[in-house]
């Protein structure tokens, strides 16, 4: 089966129903997306499929054929961080860091659709991404900061 991951075409030999998360992590060595729950309950495994934030732990790889897949591993371009990553660094958001790949990918998708989200918009999208270290107050600030950075870059 052919997958398009981070702009590259990759060949994998797995059954259609294997979750995308494990195909990325184990077959392709792309370990940015993390395993937290395996049941679409925490968001640690979030990647973009066709521009949409998806929980890769429950998404059968067969459903992603011919669709561009984007992971945090390729979010920074040529050593330059994405505005969301930059805002995350500025705000010293991560603690253990385990949830952050998912938080960042969810935020990138959110800002692509809604460049100026309100606190309620942020809640309605990011409340599905768990952070056991409790970085929520900083995530909220960083989302607003990233929105401002993207706005300024236009």
């Amino acid at each position: 089966m052919k997958l398009t991951v981070n702009g590259e075409t990759r060949d994998v030999d797995v059954p259609d129903d294997v979750p995308l998360l494990w195909v990325l992590r184990e077959e392709l060595g792309i370990t940015g997306p993390k395993f937290g729950c395996g049941a679409a309950l925490c968001g640690a495994c979030t990647v973009h499929v066709d521009g949409e934030a998806r929980r890769s732990c429950v998404l059968p790889v067969g459903a992603t054929k011919d669709k561009p897949i984007r992971t945090i591993d390729a979010l920074a371009q040529g050593g330059t961080l994405h505005a969301v990553q930059q805002a995350w660094e500025e705000g010293n958001v991560p603690q253990c860091g385990y949830c952050q790949a998912g938080q960042i990918m969810t935020t990138v998708a959110l800002l692509e659709k809604n460049p100026k989200p309100s606190d309620d918009d942020i809640d309605s999208v990011l409340s599905a991404n768990l952070c056991r270290c409790g970085t929520y107050p900083r995530i909220r600030r960083a989302v607003h900061r990233a929105a401002a950075l993207l706005e300024g870059a236009k």
Binding site: P19, K34, L126
Partner: protein, 737 residues
């Protein structure tokens, strides 16, 4: 792969460079390694400087989010005179890093106090040697040279050399005997806001966690643990499973059945399809609700006395005293680190390698050595970043399992727990009850009594294996474990961990007695962020509020009466009252709770503001004031307060682990609920300036969250919530009307 995982522990080792440190000689023997061909400068066991200006610092404390690596980097950088972000952390494990003289462990909010002096001494010693090396090179007195920004300068002759250029010369300098530390007024970094040094890896999804480890030829393991603790597999029907793609082996152990496959997803699928027959367990009929009822009955009587002062009976009987009584409870709780437990092990001949993120470095290493039958010196523990700890990774069950599996597999093997394995993986915060009784007269407390019952937080046999030396045999360990358990369970030894936060609370009462009934024979328990302080203050501060209410005194004023004038507790309490504008009426629909507590050497004052909306508790704002001595990195103190509040609030409102028929009911995040973004309050934190020695902040933010929220709900609804989780207690209270 992060190179960190492959670095052998080479900072340190043989040799003898003992850095004299003035009045406080360090407990470790640093090592002056012979200068290698590439001109390294191994200043001591902690710091290595490369000719290309890289500075590596040995990280002896696990990084689990609490910022220990950044902290250590700051302390070294301050004295070494380099920017903090020039420092590369290198996880270091070994006997030479047992800072408390007993073992290498990360927990108990000890990283700050334990690193405070040694890391600065290490940095200062290296700087002195670099300055002397430069002076010697130039033929000038060392006193005329100064170090700043990673270079030594001789101002008179306008010459300067970077540290990287001085490594070869510095390696020949005799280590200093006397290493003075900077005076507080000279601090440039300590006490400011410093960026974490692990940000880049953590915003780019780098492979830094135990679960990300990849070792050549590695296979994967998935675990089916027994449904009831203590039961073991008696028969495994694996004929079909062995034919599944990728499956290599199906192995039975006392701890469950492990499926070994090329990939984790293959192992997991096969494991889920296994048919296993399990033996009976002594916990087959265990029911946590029944246990709670038994505990409540037990504390109804007087119990074995753990602490006593004055005469509470007399206080209760004094005429005019108002006497109150109420019982509080808290459930079992899982830690629910977002990264499930994982460990990779490779056992070959007399050598063992382990890749994992653990809080219990010494214990992991020694236990692996015992299992594999090798010398602990032949065990290399590659300690990765931890995807959350909170005490759970102080328990090394997954490491033990991985090593046991690895003894039966020819290649390295990575064990990854599923979320369900993790939620049902025992080692919980113990279920607790406390019957409180107190008296007030003339607006103040005259007698204070608590009868607490719980298991000790931490299974005693496990605790003993943590501290036992590596050479102790398995049999000896088991005997010691049993003896230790008897000692604790007998109730003759006051159970310090179970009672902390109750015996050692913030307030001074003339008459106080604490009884304790230890609970035996239940599921394994463990340290859970702030340990006994995570549940006892719920009863203590909740009951203080009841007493204040009965006395008709404002909750803040009432608490002030029981704190001495020079007490730092009074400082944080007054500060939080001011910060939260306690003297002004709260907004419509807002209830407030206040408290002060002392734990792990740090003082915290807290005010929570909450609403009740459609039977749900919505905490809008939490104010926290903290006095943790000399602040080192202000931003990360605040980060830890935020973290502790969010962690504790999820537990207070929603968290519970129930056990029915020996089986854990909850399994994943849908039924083991933790706090979400939309439930997160605004957090306002103020650090009290202090010149006392610094103390840790990983845990002290936890204790006051549950009681201040419960007290806020009382103010709003008149309902006393005395059982966690609070949303369940509120629902029950509403039904009862």
């Amino acid at each position: 792969m992060n190179r960190r995982f492959f670095l052998k522990v080479s900072l340190g080792g043989a040799g003898a460079l003992l850095i004299g440190c003035g009045a406080n000689p360090p407990p470790w023997g640093g090592a002056h390694m012979p200068q290698s061909d590439d001109g390294l400068f191994d200043a001591n066991a902690w710091i290595r400087i490369h000719p290309d200006e890289r500075i590596e610092v040995a990280m002896t404390k696990a990084e689990m989010g609490q910022g220990s690596h950044t902290l250590a980097a700051i302390l070294v950088a301050e004295e070494l005179e380099v920017p903090v972000d020039r420092i590369t952390p290198v996880a270091a494990v070994g006997p030479q890093y047992e800072l408390n003289g007993l073992m290498q462990i990360t927990g108990g909010s000890t990283s700050t106090p334990e690193l405070w002096k040694p890391m600065r001494h290490a940095g200062a010693a290296a700087r002195i040697m670099l300055v002397q090396a430069a002076a010697k090179t130039w033929g000038v007195p060392a006193g005329e040279c100064s170090a700043a920004d990673g270079a030594v300068t001789h101002a008179k002759s306008n010459r300067s050399l970077t540290y990287g250029k001085l490594t070869a010369a510095a390696a020949k300098i005799t280590p200093p005997q006397n290493v003075p530390l900077k005076a507080r007024k000279d601090f440039k970094v300590i006490g400011t806001n410093v960026d974490r040094i692990d940000l880049r890896e953590k915003v780019t999804g780098a492979p830094i966690f135990g679960i990300d480890v990849q070792v050549p030829d590695m296979v994967n393991a998935a675990l089916v643990p027994p449904p009831v603790y203590g039961s073991t597999p008696t028969a495994v029907d694996d004929a079909e499973i062995r034919k599944m793609p990728g499956v290599i082996d199906v192995l039975s152990f006392d701890f469950g059945v492990a499926v070994i496959a090329s990939r984790y997803w293959q192992a997991r699928r096969a494991a889920d399809a296994l048919k296993i027959t399990w033996s009976k367990s002594h916990l087959d009929d265990f029911d946590s609700a029944k246990m709670l009822a038994d505990m409540l009955a037990a504390v109804g009587e007087e119990g074995p006395e753990a602490q006593s002062k004055g005469d509470i009976e007399e206080a209760f009987e004094t005429s005019g005293a108002q006497v109150l009584e109420a019982s509080y409870s808290g459930p079992y709780l899982a830690h629910a680190t977002l990264e499930p437990q994982t460990a990779t092990a490779w056992v070959r001949g007399d050598e063992v390698d382990i890749w994992t993120g653990t809080q219990a470095q010494t214990s992991a290493r020694n236990t692996a050595a015992r299992i594999a039958g090798v010398d602990p010196a032949n065990v290399t523990l590659h300690n990765t970043y931890l995807g959350g700890g909170f005490g759970r990774r102080g328990c090394i069950d997954a490491v033990i399992q991985a090593v046991m599996i690895a003894t039966r597999v020819d290649t390295p093997v990575k064990l990854t727990w599923s979320r369900e394995n993790d939620t049902r993986g025992w080692y919980y915060r113990p279920q607790m009850v406390a019957r409180m009784k107190g008296s007030v007269k003339d607006g103040a407390v005259t007698g204070f009594y608590a009868h607490c019952a719980s298991q000790t937080p931490g299974s005693v046999p496990d605790l003993i294996s943590q501290v036992a030396p590596g050479w102790l045999s398995e049999v000896m360990l088991r005997i010691m474990g049993r003896l230790g358990a008897q000692l604790f369970d007998s109730g003759t030894v006051p159970n310090m961990l179970a009672l902390e936060g109750m015996t050692s609370h913030a307030y001074t009462f003339e008459n106080q007695r604490i009884d304790f009934s230890p609970v035996k024979g239940a599921v394994p328990t463990l340290f859970w962020r702030s340990v006994g302080h995570s549940f006892n203050p719920f009863a203590k501060e909740g009951f203080m509020d009841e007493l204040a209410h009965a006395a008709g005194v404002d909750a803040y004023a009432f608490r002030r009466k029981h704190l001495a004038k020079d007490d730092r507790r009074l400082g944080v309490l007054d500060a939080v009252a001011k910060l939260s504008k306690w003297d002004q009426k709260p907004a419509e629909g807002i209830g407030r709770g206040i408290g002060a507590h002392f734990s792990f050497g740090s003082f915290v004052g807290m005010v929570s503001e909450a609403r009740v909306v459609d039977g749900d508790i919505k905490v809008e704002r939490v104010y926290a004031t903290v006095d943790c001595g000399q602040p080192i990195n202000r931003d990360q103190i605040i980060a830890q307060v935020e973290s502790a509040i969010v962690f504790a609030l999820g537990a207070a409102l929603y968290g519970r682990i129930d056990v029915a028929d020996g089986k854990v009911v909850q399994g994943n995040f849908h039924d083991f609920r933790i706090l979400r973004m939309n439930e997160c309050p605004e957090i306002v934190c103020e650090i009290i300036d202090s010149t006392e020695s610094p103390t840790g902040m990983g845990e002290p933010g936890v204790p006051l969250v549950a009681p201040t929220v419960a007290n806020a709900v009382f103010e709003l609804t008149g309902k006393r919530l005395r059982d966690m989780p609070l949303v369940d207690a509120l629902a029950t209270a509403m039904k009862e009307g």
